[in-house]
């Protein structure tokens, strides 16, 4: 054995360590891959050894190789081995490797669960830390589910280092296992007020990250964050919070109003640019949410814009970039304020930094107006010429097109100018966006009727010079433009000046080098051209000319027939045959032009891109319904397959529609016709209403084509857009003069009493009349198209699962799966850990259950309203609340659900929603017809009492609480501070160790309780080999690992170094819970210090009080009343004298120690409710007299009740 060890360590000396590996890789520059594969072989050998140090070294090298891009998934198991090393240095290597290479698909990952759990509960904070860090990288849904509870425990670890990590990793857990969000949320919220700033900021981060995805669920946290924002000085936290508010304000504009002031203060005061920037961003978000909001916010906008200008003017490129980014957000809602900085932004276009130029371009998009469009585009065009990088040039190109075409060409006053711009853009070499230009050309030519003539002349020029485009730029997309050019020339051939010339241009042999789809369009449009030439010639009586054209076609078309592109080939051969046929006819002097042009008669209308999608589903049409009933595959048919057809035939006559059906069919047919008539996509034989629509006055009567004669219609060669700018200026000047003249005239007219709008003296956008009377044909949409846009939410978005209402009270079934027993755990199969659906042996009676569901529904509604009311209330208070004193320390209970302090909240909310609540009550009663009358009366009486109480409580205006501080988030306004309490009670202690325990019931297991024992090492020696032995009673038994006997001790799964404490959990099975009981137990351990080791023992008595079987369960007053009415509860009461404590604290004590929740509180009288793990309902009525307290209890089990009351008496006596 020893020999082997020595041998192992000698071997190790020859192993490469990481540095050798790195050096080796550097020395093998030429054959790196070979060297590495050799290294990997060595590593494989090393991994086979038993020595953990060797393995760790190997895994360390693998991690490096992984970063270089080598797959190391084959070593996953070895990584796990290294992770489980006891030495921290190895463990860390293991976790690092795991975090680099593990992912959800790693199959061995499930093996890590127990190891990670062990590390999480390790006494060394670094072990825990490294486990948390690693886990965050490879957490899977399974791991998240199994470990959620452990991590949640760590959130209240004593060390901030661990707390912080635990809080952060919870985010990953939420993502993978969304069910954990609700149970963990209260504690997460607690962490927002953690004394350690690191933990606090971690919590802020997690909540911000959650809220960013589903902001509406976190609106109720706004007051808390607001407080943090006004009190925190940590810029990192502030940034996050401010970002969060940015996400919340769109949902609640009133929040925005509240935020504006502190934010502007921050903007003024902060010296940190990052914070300033985020503030500005959020202010912008606020202003957007207020949109049309109040006028006095123009000051805020001005402030933002000013600050941003400072950023943009800064020499630091980063500031400039972000300034522009933020500016573009303002632009959306307040374009005017940004437009005044046009100079600055145009200046940025000259910046040497491409990112900045792109940002500036974005801004330009929103800054154009009718007035400055030409100027801006001109500037951009010069940039296009200068730009060296193709990406940037392409970006410029798309931007120019975007800018011009935005909102339906709103800003274009002269389309001839635009067409010339487009034509100029075609000269760009190597752009990818030819198709974009082509689309624009088509769009403009189709939709702007007035421009067609000009467009056609330009396009024919383009076609003429097509060889330029096609030859040099074959590979890049600019030849796409020819697609548009050909189509336009063909479709609007009547506008062509020299159609014959164009026809020849399109039939040039060079054309065959173009891409197939363009050739296809060429072929098709050649015929259109041909048709129109034929017509011209025939009308002019030039039969020979017509024949010459035909001959040209017959000569040239064969080049397309040989095309490799199927589409081109098919079209060409089809057309060739047609032309040959025409030629024959022409030879016989038959006039053919009419018929040929009939091929292309009619006009094409633009159809909106979404039109097809928007066709509404006709009424009565169910797309999911079967058209034919599916064949039923009943057993009998399966057995006799042959009979199927036979029977089918027999059945058919039965199914034949009766006469009534025939009528129905006729009616349907009629309806369908109607439907089709309205459907533009249905091809009809009859003249379509669509065509008729064109003939209707609507379109035709719009005055079209009044082309300004100052613009030459035919531009020789390719036009320069610049000349339009000049012309435009002249034109505007002229227009202005005319207008002035007209105005004078008008003034005279006005004297005669004609009322007109007096236009502003300055030249505004509206004053610029477009050069052409432009008639933009709007795109067609189907009638009664659905206005809604499709929901573009991605169903696979992982964050959607986290869209969870956090204000609902926790249901029992939602509790996190708690690890029952560490030792027992290992023997269990993993499936057993799955959080099962709530299992209850004693289910409430059916009626009751039904009722409960109803209640729950109601409660939900009510809760929502209450939540709203609370928030509304906070939002309506105008002055920003002063930083309130830190709220009372919340007792660090292990129970997550509502406890101790719920009482006043409920009441407060009740008061707010009183009216609504009553309505609910009334409803509930109406529905519950079975309830006897006298009970109703009683109920009413109760209600009256309640209302009286509420009215009293109302007298104390809730505003006063408000003024005192913040509405307390995790509880309610507290009158006085409660002393911090711990649910852990001292079990036993000696000089070595202190034991404290907490007993928790869980509704998931009706007869099990979990005992959490905290062991604290008070000595200077290390405690190990701890064993817990408990003497079982008949009634209570400890769950032990399988196979161990009753007398064996159960080991504690950790060791305790001096001064450290840790918690172990044990599960006990209880048969009857109606009486309290005690179990004797002994903790034995070995205390080891420098002087040696001693065996020590500590006896303890585990006290299972009846209260520990209770589980805090919220209950609502009407459900509570119903429960009392049901009458099958036995009653008992106690009275305790000499109590000084305030009623508030008293209730809190009962809630805390006995796991009750307050149902309702009226003055010094309160009803409380709780439920045992076995489903007993326990109701209490607590009344406070002068110096005494009386407790009346009702419970479905009288023994349980009396034991409980005894315990309560003891608690109260201590008060």
């Amino acid at each position: 054995m020893a020999l082997k060890m020595v041998k192992g360590s000698i071997d190790r000396m020859f192993d490469k360590n990481l540095q050798d590996l790195v050096r080796g890789i550097r020395n093998h520059k030429e054959d790196e891959a070979k060297y590495i594969s050799q290294c990997i072989d060595e590593i494989k050998q090393e991994l086979k050894q038993d020595n953990i140090a060797v393995k760790a070294n190997a895994v360390c090298k693998l991690t490096y190789l992984q970063m270089l891009g080598y797959d190391i998934s084959w070593a996953a198991f070895n990584i796990i081995e290294v992770m489980s090393a006891s030495k921290f240095t190895f463990k860390r290597i293991g976790y690092l490797a795991a975090s680099q290479s593990f992912h959800e698909g790693t199959d061995v990952i499930m093996l890590t669960t127990n190891q990670i759990r062990k590390d999480l509960s390790s006494p060394s904070q670094y072990d825990t830390g490294v486990a948390l860090t690693g886990l965050s990288c490879f957490v899977t849904p399974d791991l998240a589910r199994d470990l959620a509870n452990d991590i949640m425990t760590l959130m209240s670890h004593t060390k901030p280092y661990i707390r912080k990590k635990a809080v952060l990793i919870m985010y990953k857990v939420f993502l993978k296992y969304p069910e954990s969000l609700r149970p963990a949320f209260p504690r997460l919220k607690e962490k927002l007020e953690d004394p350690d700033p690191g933990v606090q900021s971690a919590a802020v981060n997690v909540i911000c990250e959650l809220a960013r995805r589903n902001p509406k669920n976190y609106l109720s946290l706004a007051p808390l964050f607001f407080k943090l924002m006004t009190s925190s000085t940590n810029n990192w936290v502030l940034i996050k919070i401010i970002k969060l508010f940015g996400a919340l304000t769109p949902l609640e504009p009133r929040l925005g109003k509240k935020l504006i002031e502190p934010l502007t203060n921050l903007i003024h005061s902060t010296s940190a640019m990052s914070l300033l920037y985020e503030c500005v961003n959020t202010v912008i978000a606020v202003l957007i949410s207020l949109s049309s909001g109040m006028p006095n916010h123009s000051a805020s906008i001005q402030l933002c814009v000013q600050k941003l200008r400072i950023l943009i003017e800064d020499s630091d490129q980063n500031l400039k970039y972000l300034g522009l980014l933020a500016m573009s957000k303002i632009l959306k809602t307040h374009p005017k304020s940004v437009q005044s900085h046009k100079d600055l932004i145009l200046q940025c276009l000259d910046d040497k930094d491409e990112s900045i130029r792109l940002r500036a371009l974005d801004l330009l998009y929103g800054m154009v107006s009718k007035k400055n469009l030409m100027e801006i585009v001109k500037k951009l065009m010069t940039h296009v010429d200068k730009a060296e990088g193709t990406t940037y040039r392409d970006e410029l190109l798309t931007k120019i097109i975007d800018i011009c075409s935005q909102s339906n060409y709103q800003y274009i006053t002269n389309f001839e100018w635009y067409i010339s711009i487009l034509v100029e853009l075609t000269r760009l070499e190597g752009t990818r966006h030819g198709h974009l230009i082509a689309a624009q050309m088509l769009d403009v030519a189709i939709r702007v009727k007035a421009i067609r003539k000009f467009a056609v002349s330009q396009m024919s020029a383009l076609l003429d010079s097509a060889h330029l485009l096609a030859s040099s730029t074959q590979r890049n997309g600019i030849c796409e433009v020819l697609y548009a050019a050909a189509w336009i020339c063909g479709e609007f051939s009547e506008h062509l000046q020299e159609p014959h010339h164009t026809l020849e241009a399109m039939l040039r042999p060079k054309v065959t080098t173009l891409p197939g789809h363009i050739q296809a369009v060429y072929v098709q449009n050649v015929v259109k051209l041909y048709a129109s030439i034929l017509q011209q010639k025939e009308q002019a009586g030039e039969a020979e000319g017509a024949q010459a054209v035909t001959q040209l076609m017959v000569d040239r078309l064969p080049q397309f027939v040989q095309s490799a592109d199927l589409e081109v080939q098919e079209r060409a051969s089809c057309i060739l045959q047609l032309v040959k046929h025409i030629q024959k006819l022409q030879a016989k002097d038959v006039p053919v032009a009419e018929e040929v042009s009939a091929l292309f008669a009619g006009e094409l209308n633009p159809v909106a891109p979404k039109a097809q999608k928007k066709v509404p589903v006709p009424e009565g049409l169910d797309l999911d319904a079967w058209i034919n009933e599916p064949l039923s595959d009943s057993e009998s048919e399966d057995e006799r397959p042959r009979a199927v057809f036979h029977e089918e035939e027999q059945r058919r006559p039965k199914h034949r529609p009766s006469e009534a059906d025939e009528e129905e069919l006729a009616r349907r047919r009629e309806a369908r016709k109607q439907e089709q008539a309205n459907n533009p996509f249905y091809i009809k034989s009859s003249p379509s209403p669509q065509k008729r629509y064109q003939d209707t006055p609507g379109v035709e009567h719009i005055p079209v084509v009044q082309i300004d004669l100052s613009v030459p219609l035919k531009v020789p060669g390719l036009p320069m857009s610049d000349q339009y700018v000049k012309l435009e200026e002249e034109r505007r000047h002229r227009q202005k003069l005319e207008k002035d003249k007209r105005r004078k005239k008008r003034k005279e007219k006005e004297k005669k009493g004609k009322r007109r709008h007096s236009s502003l003296p300055t030249e505004s956008d509206e004053d610029i009349a477009p050069a052409q009377q432009v008639d933009i044909i709007t795109e067609e949409m189907p009638e009664n198209a659905l206005p809604s846009d499709e929901d573009d939410k991605d169903p696979n978005d992982p964050y959607r699962a986290l869209d969870i209402d956090l204000d609902k009270p926790l249901a029992d079934s939602e509790k996190l799966p708690i690890q029952k027993h560490r030792n027992a755990e290992t023997s269990k199969s993993p499936e057993k850990d799955v959080p099962v659906v709530e299992k209850k042996s004693k289910k409430p009676k059916k009626k009751e259950k039904k009722h409960k569901e109803k209640e729950r529904d109601k409660e939900k509604k009510k809760k929502e309203k209450e939540k709203k009311v609370r928030l509304d209330f906070w939002l309506s208070t105008t002055p920003p609340p002063a930083p309130a004193p830190a709220p009372a320390p919340v007792p660090s209970t292990e129970e997550l659900s509502v406890n101790a302090v719920t009482a006043p909240k409920d009441e407060y909310e009740d008061a707010k929603t009183e009216v609504q609540g009553e309505e609910d009550d009334a409803e509930g009663q109406d529905q519950d017809k079975k309830s006897p009358k006298h009970k109703k009366k009683k109920h009413k009486k109760e209600k009256e009492e309640r209302i009286k109480g509420k009215k009293k409580s109302k007298k104390q205006p809730p505003g006063s609480e408000e003024a005192a501080g913040e509405p307390v988030q995790n509880g309610a306004p507290e009158e006085e501070q409660l002393p911090p309490e711990s649910s852990y009670s001292l079990l036993a202690e000696n000089s070595y160790v202190k034991m404290a325990c907490d007993i928790r019931g869980s509704l998931q297991e009706d007869s099990q309780v979990t005992v959490a024992i905290v062991l604290e090492n008070r000595s200077s020696s290390i405690l190990k080999g701890m064993e817990l032995s408990v003497l079982d009673s008949l009634n209570a038994r400890m769950a032990r690992p399988q196979g161990s006997s009753v007398h064996d001790g159960v080991p504690v799964p950790f060791q305790l170094p001096p001064g450290v404490s840790n918690e172990a959990q044990y599960v006990f099975t209880i048969q009857s819970i109606v009486t309290a009981q005690k179990l004797k137990g002994t903790l034995s351990f070995i205390a080891k210090n420098d002087e040696g080791a001693t065996h020590e023992k500590l006896d303890f008595r585990l006290h299972f009080s009846c209260s520990s079987y209770l589980i805090t369960t919220p209950c609502y007053s009407d459900a509570f009343a119903k429960l009392l009415e049901s009458g099958d509860l036995s009653m008992s009461s106690v009275k305790v004298d000499g109590i000084r404590m305030s009623f508030q604290n008293l209730l809190a004590k009962i809630c805390f120690h006995h796991h009750f929740s307050v149902v309702e509180r009226v003055d010094s009288c309160a009803s409380m409710y709780s439920r045992s793990i076995q489903g007993h309902h326990v109701c209490l009525l607590v009344k406070k007299g002068e110096n005494s307290v009386s407790v009346d209890g009702k419970c479905s089990d009288s023994t349980l009740l009396s034991s409980l009351l005894e315990e309560m008496k003891a608690t109260l006596a201590k008060c």
Binding site: G69, T89, T133, Y161, N205, W236, Q317, E354
Partner: protein, 157 residues
Amino acid sequence: MIKAILIFNNHGKSRLSMFYQPYSEDTQQQIIRETFHLVSKRDENVCNFLEGGLLIGGSDNELIYRHYATIYFVFCVDSSESEFGILDLIQVFVETLDKCFENVCELDLIFHVDKAGLVGAPARAVSAVKNMNLPEIPRNINIGDISIKVPNLPSFK
């Protein structure tokens, strides 16, 4: 959230990388290559932000980088991070490295990947910033002016 941290040299050779979303090794290398091409093209005195959104995840993401001597430090983050914050974070990270190695240079990164901090350093800076929401290291930084105090990292050994 920080989606990935990439460290590579002037020639695009990866020195350290950390991805917080699972990608296959090939994709990771592809991302590093593309990022390198984006970043290396840029001049020294241009801004440190890049919309490289398509590399990792959606268009929400951006690349924030700094270039020190022969090494690029690139962080890929989504919109919930403050751009300036990340820039400072990189600064802190580099200064931490500098503390660890005294005049840190590329060779340190190459040879001491495992040393005192390195395997730790990214993992730790990363864990501190985990998820990647800053707290520990940057806590002492005044974001506005770059007067950064590098806090003591807890020593492991």
